[in-house]
């Protein structure tokens, strides 16, 4: 039995449309579909955030995220998975990263989703620059 249709991962400079991304998860074998969106919040380290900028080393980031998603599909027997990460300037409330995982049962979909986002945050060559309300900035640290 073929366990998954296709993988999808990408570093993108355009806004992430969560609804459009979810439309592809239409495999009739799917019993659970989990999505996680990392959003830009207005407070960080007790300071007011004006906006964020994300920078990525795109060719390597795409390769690494692809490998992470492929590993998750294999390890958690997923039917399908997707991971998108933004670059460029993001306003408060925008989606910085989206991870969608689909499987026959919820346990695998949840676990795989967390596995993907944790590894992408810690390993993929992507960097966050937080601009504060006073115009200064701080390079982000992985948390």
């Amino acid at each position: 039995m073929k366990l998954f249709n296709r993988l999808y991962m990408m570093i993108i400079a355009e806004p992430i449309d969560i609804g459009s991304c979810l439309q592809r998860f239409a495999d009739p074998r799917t019993g659970a579909c989990v999505w996680f969106a990392g959003m830009v919040r207005n407070i960080s380290h007790q300071q007011n955030v004006a906006y964020l900028e994300y920078e990525a080393f795109v060719p390597l980031a795409n390769t690494m995220i692809s490998d992470i998603v492929a590993q998750a599909v294999k390890q958690f027997n997923l039917l399908d998975a997707l991971c998108l990460h933004r670059t460029g300037r993001l306003a408060i409330g925008e989606t910085a990263v989206l991870v969608v995982t689909a499987s026959m049962h919820r346990k695998e979909a949840y676990a795989a989703n967390q596995y993907i986002i944790d590894r992408v945050k810690h390993e993929a060559p992507v960097w966050k620059k937080e601009y504060w309300a006073d115009g200064s900035y701080t390079w982000g640290h992985c948390s």
Binding site: F57, L60, H122, A124, K129, C142
Partner: protein, 86 residues
């Protein structure tokens, strides 16, 4: 006295390293220098960036090298500070 063979290496840096180093530059390095050796050279040359360079990784467009990887014959590397995506 021995002649130390050198090679020209093109270097690109990212994120906070751009605050202390040129974003793209070229440097003569000893042949057979390791990634750890290159980072040490950069730390000596750019002490303000040393705390970040100490945690950085050297990569090609395809892979991240381990610290002992030798750069002989490599003409371009990327210096990656710790990730902070998500």
């Amino acid at each position: 006295m021995t002649d130390m063979k050198t090679q020209l290496l093109h270097i690109a840096v990212f994120a906070q390293l751009k605050d202390c180093l040129p974003e793209r530059f070229s440097k003569e390095i000893p042949e057979n220098i390791s990634c750890a050796g290159l980072l040490e050279m950069l730390m000596a040359e750019y002490p303000d960036a040393a705390p970040v360079l100490k945690l950085s990784r050297i990569a090609s467009e395809q892979e991240i090298f381990n610290n002992g990887h030798l750069l002989s014959g490599v003409d371009k590397v990327f210096v990656l500070p710790p990730s902070s995506g998500g």
